[in-house]
């Protein structure tokens, strides 16, 4: 099955972290990198920036791992949605994610997972380098 997912090319990334800023600004109307669903990690030694983001796995381990039915798949965008009411912040999804993606909200008891901004991700829109794009996954 084909579906939309974020794609990231480390060699294009300049490490400006505007994607983090836009993600949080769009979702929370504030800035705070700890609330971002995409995180850019700089490796000065190897002169590379890499991203931690949701790969929208077909076989989503996070959904399987959740004992509280807090995670579900958006049938239209393929994003993994978090029910803030049902999530208790047990962090099982973090343990199971092969990409280290989910992150705890810094002050609330629920998890943050990329919701693909209803199909038009803010991080993709802002990235000045097209290092993060949305395309067909499989």
């Amino acid at each position: 099955m084909n579906y939309k997912t974020l794609k990231f090319e480390p060699k294009k990334c300049i490490g400006c972290r505007l994607c983090e800023q836009m993600c949080v600004m769009t979702h929370f109307k504030v800035t705070n990198p700890k609330k971002s669903r995409i995180r850019i990690i700089r490796d000065d030694e190897n002169q590379l920036d890499s991203a931690i983001y949701c790969h929208s796995c077909v076989d989503a381990k996070c959904i399987e791992a959740c004992e509280f039915d807090a995670l579900s798949r958006d049938s239209e965008t393929n994003a993994i949605l978090v029910s803030e009411e049902d999530c208790v912040g047990c962090k099982k999804c973090i343990e199971e994610c092969p990409y280290d993606h989910p992150v705890m909200h810094p002050s609330e008891e629920y998890i943050l997972i990329c919701d693909l901004c209803e199909g038009n991700p803010a991080c993709v829109e802002i990235c000045p380098e097209n290092a993060i794009t949305i395309g067909e996954g499989n």
Binding site: C16, R17, D44, P106, P128
Partner: protein
């Protein structure tokens, strides 16, 4: 100003003598009077560090201040200013650093951080929101910057999002122009803030924060942020900086004949074409690197395979470094310049002052004033690549000649009896623009409160584009306007490169939708004037006046021998008269009583 929009309204104060930390409210009025960043630094240093304080004593402070836009979506807001009394110049000093450390401090919920006192033994500080820990750095002391950064990161659990500012061996050993490094390739570079940090036995400051930065009007900030990011990307200046970084300047400045060469004896480097931005892009650049929230990416990731077949990967070097360690030392090899820059980066000292120290002893060696006996056996001729590298290592380790050069140009030249060859103003080395080729820069260097510093007012761009660079007339006004403009930029703590795509109108708009306060251009300019006068007063209280607003004899009496600025000297007295007059200062360069009253600064004048 509301404490919740843009600014956080408080600073963190850590005293290393007592081990105590506390939060201090920032009087909301201060933002209006001093804007933030460099301006607030001027306020706190003047208030808390009397002029007679020993720069390397426990009473000196490191005052880190963010600007009101730090951490928001307004691009390029990543600069943070540290203000301190300088061990290099013994005067007022400040230095701005880009990267990611400043915004991270803002995300801890503080606009600023003041480090006071002195720890009994080496320590590092961790700040996690409002939780502060002072931990032993005994096992880290002595390590180079990259190793030290690794050790601190491991000690805080390996989290790669933690931002660390630190010193290397140069700071520990009190090299007078040691830097504070943030990330591996961003520095509070000039004036010796790293030595002040070393004198406090403070190795590093590791920061992580999860506090929100709120803005008054999120929808408008989102909209304007996107527009400014686009404008910056599409601007001519933005495109050039993206392609070549600051190295775009080599061609312009060298061809105009004011690129300092061989210890400032010449203004044109005949091998300069090898170091132009386009050559750098073709030959050694493999990628681009940005500071927080900047779409330009003027940082250049470089890679070479050395003569000895070693892989060499780093970020930089920047334009100033290539001038000071390159043309100024008669050197044009990428391999040498990358290695030289990395030595400065890993020991943690300023490439500009280091370059001027090495070029000084190179000239002395060539003219026979110094011999192999004085130079630890190093053939210190211009163009000797190995001599440059060896001498820089010696500065970092404070060995032999390096120990003398580590004291800075004034003291080193006295010890070596070569005062005439020391190219400084107030003890601070000149950077790469020879003021004989752009007379406004002479005023910038001579009147800067922190000694010869180009970013106080980079008039040369306007002077080149208007064809007035050799003129004296009108330079007082030009200098004042550029100083005011930079005081605003440094106090908002925006990267100066953002001037390429953010107009003053848009900056005012950004300020107002972030903070919810309308600051018009008149009140911004008034704040800028207040900041510059307060910085001036600090030095006047130290006993400085026109007599210290000087340039070396070389610039005043020796004409440039070749190139497009051939035949020119600096007519400093006429320039100073004009500038002081424009500033409302007396002929000694001291702000008048009326001026101080107008700026509400009378209480700071001793």
């Amino acid at each position: 100003m509301s404490n919740n929009n843009g600014t956080k309204g408080k600073l963190l104060r850590i005293n290393l003598t007592t081990g105590e930390s506390k939060e201090d409210a920032i009087d909301p009025k201060l933002w209006e009077s001093f804007i933030g960043g460099r301006g607030l630094g001027a306020y706190y240093l003047t208030k808390e560090v009397p002029p007679d304080v020993e720069p390397l004593g426990a009473e000196n402070k490191l005052i880190f201040m963010n600007g009101p836009l730090a951490g928001t979506l307004i691009p390029g807001n990543n600069k943070i200013c540290v203000t301190f009394k300088s061990p290099l110049t013994n005067t007022y000093s400040y230095s701005l650093c880009g990267g990611h450390w400043g915004p991270e401090l803002k995300f801890t919920g503080f606009d600023g951080l003041i480090i006071e006192g002195k720890a009994k033994s080496p320590v590092y500080i961790t700040i996690n929101n409002n939780k502060v820990e002072i931990r032993s750095a005994e096992t880290m002391w002595g390590n180079l910057i990259p190793e030290s950064e690794k050790l601190i990161r491991e000690a805080v659990g390996g989290d790669k999002t933690v931002q660390i500012a630190l010193i290397g061996p140069a700071g520990e050993k009190l090299v007078n122009y040691a830097c504070i490094t943030a990330g591996l390739y961003r520095e509070f570079g000039r004036g010796g803030a790293g030595a002040v940090m070393g004198s406090k036995n403070l190795k590093g400051i590791a920061i992580t924060g999860s506090a929100d930065v709120n803005v008054a009007n999120p929808e408008e900030v989102l909209q304007l942020g996107k527009e400014l990011i686009r404008d910056l990307r599409e601007s001519r200046g933005g495109k050039v900086r993206r392609e070549f970084g600051t190295m775009e300047l080599v061609e312009r400045v060298n061809n105009a004949g004011f690129w300092i060469t061989r210890n400032f004896t010449e203004g044109y480097f005949e091998e300069g074409y090898k170091l132009e931005g386009k050559r750098m892009r073709e030959e050694i650049i493999i990628g681009d690197s940005s500071c927080f929230g900047c779409p330009i990416g003027c940082g250049k990731r470089t890679y070479i395979i050395t003569k000895n077949n070693e892989k060499f990967l780093m970020e930089g070097p920047e334009f100033e470094t290539v001038g000071m360690l390159g043309s100024n030392c008669g050197i044009s090899s990428w391999e040498t310049l990358l290695k030289a820059s990395k030595i400065c980066d890993t020991y943690g000292f300023d490439t500009i002052n280091a370059g001027a120290c090495v070029s000084m002893v190179m000239e002395a060696f060539e003219s026979g004033k110094l011999t192999l006996k004085d130079t630890d056996g190093i053939e210190l001729s211009f163009g000797n690549d190995e001599a440059l590298l060896k001498t820089l290592e010696k500065i970092g380790r404070r060995e032999g000649l390096g120990d003398i050069l580590a004291r800075g140009l004034v003291e080193a030249s006295k010890i070596l009896k070569i005062e005439d060859l020391a190219m400084h103003s107030k003890g601070q080395s000149f950077p790469v623009y020879d003021p004989r080729g752009a007379k406004g820069m002479a005023l910038t260097y001579a009147t800067s409160p922190k000694g010869a510093h180009h970013m106080l007012a980079t008039t040369f761009g306007a002077e080149l584009s208007t064809g007035t660079r050799f003129k004296i007339e009108g330079k007082g006004n030009l200098e004042r306007d550029h100083q005011f403009s930079m005081a605003i930029v440094d106090s908002i703590a925006l990267c100066s490169t953002m001037r390429a795509g953010i107009s003053l109108d848009n900056l005012l708009k950004a300020y107002s939708i972030v903070t919810g306060i309308d600051h018009d251009i008149t009140s911004f300019l008034k704040a800028a004037e207040r900041i510059i006068n307060l910085e001036r007063i600090y030095n006047v209280n130290l006993g400085l006046d026109r007599n210290q607003d000087t340039l070396p004899k070389r610039f005043l009496e020796e004409t440039l021998p070749s190139g497009e600025s051939k035949g020119h000297i600096v007519e400093l007295d006429a320039l100073l008269d004009d500038y002081y007059n424009v500033m409302g200062w007396n002929s000694k360069g001291v702000p008048t009583e009326e001026k101080l009253k107008e700026l509400e600064l009378t209480q700071y004048f001793n």
